[in-house]
């Protein structure tokens, strides 16, 4: 398993797509969250003047006191999409290039090969989460300094919990992508399927049919909804009347996400171990 982890680590490190995916996530966080929002609240356009949350309060979302909810909300959207693509690339490419057969005729068994891949994806997820937190913290520091306001950093325990929540939800999406990659054996199908599920299945249908009781009961068990539930444990420092109440609480979210993570790993392993490679 360690041999497979080292091999997968080398592949990931040398692959441009790895760095591009992480770069897009971080650039989005910096440019479309911190820079854009700060510019908007500072310029105070007419559309913002009648807002329920005044610009002077809204800008506090960018301050250190709201570091965790800001990073988590970014992770729930673009972070999820990036990690689905990342996970799908990690597994489906092996089928696209037929390298899966070259790997499987080396020494380790199939379980060890896949375990190494999961570990490598896990390490990458932790590193991306660390980078996101660090970049967001730097942005928050710059924003509060430019604004000349005062703000406090979250407590260490809060930071640790927030980091754990971030890693967990990104890991679930990466595992989802990796599972689709193994199931479909096609990068395009895995990425397409994953993104359609995320943006059409969860976001669009979830917001359109949230009021229907039956749909609501189903939504409570979807990974995106549960990630939002987990994120609700980390409140903004101000009240946002326009925000929707989460469908599930943080504990429900935590347990459901852990179940999803385990399910994706086990299902992938079952498929990977049983299925023929090549031929027919």
């Amino acid at each position: 398993m360690i041999a497979s982890l080292r091999a997968d680590g080398l592949k990931m490190r040398k692959r441009w797509a790895t760095w591009i995916m992480a770069g897009i996530f971080l650039a989005w966080l910096v440019l479309l969250v911190y820079v854009l929002l700060f510019y908007i609240v500072k310029s105070q356009p007419a559309s913002l003047r009648g807002s329920e949350v005044p610009a002077a309060v809204l800008k506090r979302q960018l301050f250190p006191e709201n570091l965790i909810p800001t990073v988590l909300s970014t992770a729930a959207s673009i972070g999820a999409a990036i990690m689905i693509i990342y996970g799908a690339l990690g597994t489906a490419s092996e089928y696209g290039w037929s390298t899966v057969q070259t790997i499987l005729i080396q020494k380790p068994g199939r379980t060890a090969v896949l375990a190494g891949k999961w570990l490598a994806l896990g390490v990458a997820t932790v590193l991306i989460s660390l980078a996101a937190m660090a970049v967001a913290a730097l942005c928050a520091y710059v924003v509060v300094s430019i604004d000349g306001s005062s703000s406090s950093w979250p407590a260490a325990t809060e930071l640790a919990k927030g980091f754990g929540a971030l890693v967990l939800q990104l890991a679930v999406w990466a595992a989802f992508g990796a599972f689709l990659g193994i199931a479909f054996r096609s990068t395009a199908a895995a990425i397409g399927g994953g993104l359609v599920y995320l943006f059409v299945g969860e976001v669009l249908l979830g917001s359109l049919f949230r009021g229907a009781t039956v749909i609501k009961d189903v939504l409570k068990y979807l990974p995106g909804i549960n990630a939002t539930g987990l994120d609700s444990a980390f409140h903004l420092s101000y009240r946002n009347p326009g925000a929707q109440a989460p469908l599930v609480d943080a504990t429900h979210g935590l347990i459901t996400l852990l179940v999803y993570l385990a399910a994706f790993i086990i299902l992938s392993l079952v498929i990977f171990r049983q299925r023929d490679v090549g031929g027919g």
Binding site: A3, R6, Q101, T102, L104, P108
Partner: protein
């Protein structure tokens, strides 16, 4: 002392989900230390068999032992180096980095990389990305990867496929050298010349079944062995005489040349009879039956049986 086998299969079969029976009841024995040629036309089941021996495909029936273990088990894979079908590597990595990845998977020291690159004559191009390689370079990197573990058994599937004549000759020499140190090589091919020049023994597979096995000489002998070729005129008179001397099935006429399936030591006697009967003998020679003839004989479809005539005798 019993013969030891690097590969041994009993009743090995593979039926795909599509219903196609690719390999049927295959009993294969590759002796330790030999170069074994696995010969068959395209679609005969060679690659499917090699995939089963490498643990990539699960057999539908039968058993196999490869390098002393169950195919695909870590103990078997530790002794096996294989290149099955097209060499598959990471296009964005250099040849050397691809071997580093495979060395890590195999748990072998990266110090093995340079020797195997030298062995396949790829040291100069190892820093370039795999996606820039020609077919020949990809084949050689595939062999280098198979050699990383310094395995006791090498499985090479069509190793000269796509190579130019120079590359084919180099690959053939490489394969001959690989057998040193008691290594077993199982080589699949549909190129008869390649197998004839490289292999100690040959197994011929057709439609998923092993139809013959032995040395090239044994296969030739089994299919008629050598023949006496005679050109004599007038042809009709020569045919009548030869058919009176021999059994009809021993005499075949093709393009004015008689092919006589007899012991070549009878050449002088045949010549005397033809001349004594006033025939002109312009050619008389012994011909080795080519492996191609043997191969075609073993793998060709049987001629369609004539349908019984209604009301016939």
């Amino acid at each position: 002392m019993g013969q030891s086998f690097a590969v041994e299969t009993h009743g090995l079969s593979k039926r795909y989900a599509t219903g196609v029976l690719a390999v049927s009841n295959l009993d294969l024995r590759v002796r330790t230390g030999e170069v074994y040629g696995f010969l068959g036309p395209n679609g005969a089941g060679k690659t499917t068999t090699l995939r089963m021996l490498s643990g990539l495909l699960r057999p539908s029936a039968g058993t196999a032992t490869v390098a002393g273990g169950v195919p695909g088990s870590p103990s078997s894979l530790a002794q096996l180096g294989a290149m099955v079908e097209t060499p598959a590597f990471y296009p964005y990595l250099s040849g050397r980095d691809n071997l580093r990845v495979m060395a890590r998977y195999a748990g072998v020291s990266t110090s093995r990389i340079e020797p195997v690159l030298t062995q396949v004559d790829m040291s100069d191009r190892a820093r370039h990305k795999f996606k820039t390689y020609s077919t020949g370079m990809k084949q050689r990197l595939g062999v280098a990867s198979a050699l990383l573990k310094d395995p006791q058994l090498l499985i090479l599937d069509e190793p000269t496929s796509g190579l130019d004549p120079q590359g084919t000759v180099e690959m053939r020499e490489l394969i001959k050298n690989l057998r040193s140190g008691g290594r077993t090589v199982l080589l699949s091919s549909h190129l008869l010349n390649e197998v004839e020049l490289t292999c100690d023994r040959v197994g011929v597979i057709a439609k998923g079944s092993l139809v013959a096995e032995g040395t090239v000489e044994e296969l030739r002998a089994r299919s008629g062995g050598r023949a006496l070729l005679v050109r004599a005129s007038p042809t009709d008179q020569a045919r009548r005489l030869l058919e009176s001397l021999l059994k009809p099935e021993q005499v075949q006429l093709r393009d004015g040349l008689f092919s006589l399936t007899i012991d070549p030591s009878q050449a002088a006697a045949i010549n005397r009879r033809l001349v004594a009967d006033g025939l002109d003998v312009s050619e008389l020679r012994v011909a080795e039956q080519s492996l191609e003839d043997v191969f075609l004989q073993l793998t060709e479809k049987p001629p369609p049986q004539p349908s019984p005539q209604v009301g016939g005798n």
